[in-house]
């Protein structure tokens, strides 16, 4: 009977395409919105992920997210170095300052300063120049997207000069970095150089970056750092989540995206349920005939569910394909970024198949209540 059910569905081209379009639309809306939301959340923590060398971030206990500035004293590095299980610890500087361009324009930039000796935290993916060039005086590296903001319309090139706090900065390299939440240019330089670019301050270390000895558990080492230094120590993953949760709890992003996802799901549900229901209604005479011919309710139900399952699977596949294409396009062509973890795929699948199941159940009600004797009365 499954073959009959599937032929009843697929050979009714108009209805079949309409049902698939409905499911695909719902899948597209849900997965795309969720992916953009996840992408946006990832933007908030992109600087944490970009620093590959360190497993542990140590910071002021009151810091709530990565863009929060609460500097530490220089001693913090030595305190962390002394904790059992820590392989090494280096200072890391982060500040938002203003770049004064030769054209007279001023642009906010994120200034990152990493350890002079080890260069831990320096950019990994260089497009032009080399990280070692940063050892030259006044040398900075700018990210590719930032370069376009600082010198709009110009080809990326080294040798460009601008000022940070009235001090000369020369671009010696261009790197690729993850987009940031505020889409500001990122300027990388050595720690000593970075601290020279900002007004004198008593405390100059934004974070201490650390790594653990071979075989040590980073979470356990974090706990030790916290108990011995009184500072907040988080693994990279923990700090990423803390930052994302700050945005979730303190901005309207979740509510806004939640409403859009919900609307998409509701519209998709309504379209799919209505189309599938009307498809079953159109087929009521056929189901009535089958019932009169001796098909039991259980087999009729399995026919309806197999139709729903096929339409759901094909529609979900198409919707997901469209979402993947659009996500790729968004990542390449816009300032937005999308990210699709497996949880989005599973969540979308659950939402879509629940919707199809509900539509099937709704349709099945009519078929189950159908009096087979009615087939003699039309």
């Amino acid at each position: 009977m499954f073959a009959i059910a599937l032929k009843m569905l697929t050979r009714n081209r108009g209805k079949y395409l309409a049902i698939i379009a409905g499911v695909a639309f719902a899948s597209l809306l849900i997965s795309l919105q969720c992916s953009i939301f996840c992408g946006l959340m990832r933007l908030t923590s992109s600087q944490i992920r970009d620093i590959k060398d360190a497993q542990i971030w140590v910071m002021d206990p009151n810091i709530q997210f990565v863009a929060d500035f609460r500097p530490l004293s220089a001693n913090a590095v030595y305190q962390v170095q002394g904790v059992k299980g820590v392989e090494w610890a280096v200072p890391f500087y982060k500040w938002i300052t203003q770049a004064h361009m030769r054209t007279g324009t001023v642009q906010d930039v994120i200034l990152l300063g990493f350890d002079d000796a080890t260069l831990v935290g320096s950019p990994r993916e260089m497009i032009l120049g080399s990280v070692d060039d940063l050892r030259r005086p006044d040398a900075v590296v700018v990210d590719e997207v930032g370069f376009e903001i600082l010198w709009p319309g110009e080809q990326v090139a080294v040798g460009k000069v601008f000022e940070l706090n009235e001090r000369r900065a020369e671009v010696v390299g261009i790197c690729r970095a993850s987009k940031t939440f505020r889409t500001l240019p990122i300027v990388y330089t050595r720690y000593s150089q970075a601290t020279a670019y900002v007004p004198p301050q008593r405390k100059l270390t934004s974070y201490v970056l650390a790594d653990v000895e071979n075989g040590a558990d980073p979470t356990e080492v974090c706990r030790r750092i916290q108990s011995q230094t009184g500072l907040l120590a988080l693994t990279k993953e923990q700090f990423t989540w803390k930052t994302m949760m700050f945005y979730v709890n303190n901005t309207g992003i979740v509510a806004n995206f939640g409403i859009t996802v919900l609307l998409g799901a509701v519209i998709g549900c309504a379209v799919t349920a209505h189309t599938f229901y009307s498809f079953t209604l159109n087929n009521l005479p056929q189901f009535g005939t089958l019932k009169a011919m001796g098909v039991r309710n259980g087999r009729l139900l399995s026919m309806i569910f197999s139709q729903g399952l096929l339409a759901g699977t094909v529609g979900f596949g198409i919707g997901l394909g469209q979402a993947t294409f659009l996500c790729e396009w968004i990542n390449r062509k816009s300032h937005l970024i999308s990210y699709t973890p497996w949880q989005v795929l599973v969540g979308t699948a659950i939402a879509v198949f629940t919707m199809v199941l509900a539509a099937s159940l709704l349709s099945a009600q009519r078929v189950l209540r159908l009096e087979p004797a009615l087939v003699f009365h039309d």
């Binding site: 009977m1 073959a3 009959i4 032929k7 009843m8 050979r11 009714n12 005479p285 056929q286 009535g288 005939t289 089958l290 019932k291 009169a292 011919m293 001796g294 098909v295 039991r296 309710n297 009096e371 087979p372 004797a373 087939v375 003699f376 009365h377 039309d378």
Partner: protein, 242 residues
């Protein structure tokens, strides 16, 4: 034709059927008694609303009588549970509808194969047997056509093939010739007689169409929910039509 003295295939006793309740109640059958013997082609005739369709629905096991007893092919349909009744219908009953009720998205061969598939025959074997039967009903070259591509007469022949492919004990037909011209109507009745009236099977036809009376062994007249006349026609004339 088999002698009426054989054990009846269908036995209806004091069968009543009421639709609705209270003031809106409509009584379709008022104590109908009817025996149908194997090998008989019985016509059920009468004015509209006299209970013909209700009676064949009850005999086919798709409608419960309000009271009375109905036994078909040694099964008491009044006491048979719904699930078993569906199995009973799948095995023992063939139905030809006035408006054919073919599944428009299945080909002719697939439509005919449906009763076999319901009875757990494999799709491939069912379609192969359906194609053989389509040959016999003169639609051998139309097995791949969809019902919408066939004429009314062809659709009715298809519907008959679907009703008989699983060799049911009883075939019930609701106005099988009403939408057909005289010649096609005759062809359809000949086909029904040839395939559905056998030693252990019977054919029950509801009709208004007097042109097909000559094919019947027996004509049962209903009026106002009661059987008012039961005519047995000459066995000679109907036998000649076989």
């Amino acid at each position: 034709m088999i002698s009426p003295r054989t054990q009846p295939l269908v036995t209806c006793r004091r069968v009543t059927r009421q639709y609705g309740t209270g003031e809106r109640a409509t009584v379709a059958l008022r104590g109908a008694d009817l025996d149908i013997h194997p090998g008989e082609l019985t016509l059920l005739v009468g004015p509209s609303g006299c209970g013909k369709t209700t009676l064949i629905s009850i005999i086919a096991g798709i409608l419960k009588p309000t009271s009375g007893d109905v036994e078909v092919a040694e099964e008491n349909l009044v006491t048979l549970p719904e699930r078993s009744k569906a199995l009973f219908r799948a095995k023992n009953v063939g139905i030809v509808f006035q408006h054919f009720h073919l599944i428009p998205t299945l080909t002719a061969a697939e439509n005919v194969a449906v009763p076999l598939i319901i009875n757990r025959c494999s799709q491939r074997e069912a379609v192969a047997r359906a194609r053989d039967l389509l040959d016999e009903v003169g639609l051998g070259n139309r097995g791949g056509a969809f019902p919408g591509e066939l004429s009314g007469g062809q659709q009715q022949r298809l519907s008959i093939a679907r009703a008989i492919i699983h060799e049911p004990r009883i075939v019930v037909c609701d106005e099988p010739t009403s939408a057909l011209d005289q010649q096609t109507g005759r062809q359809v009745m000949q086909l029904l007689r040839r395939h559905a009236v056998r030693e252990n099977r019977a054919l029950l036809v509801v009709t208004h169409d007097q042109r097909i009376f000559e094919f019947a062994d027996r004509v049962v007249h209903l009026e106002d929910g009661r059987i008012v006349r039961d005519e047995r026609l000459s066995s000679q004339s109907s036998a000649e039509l076989n």
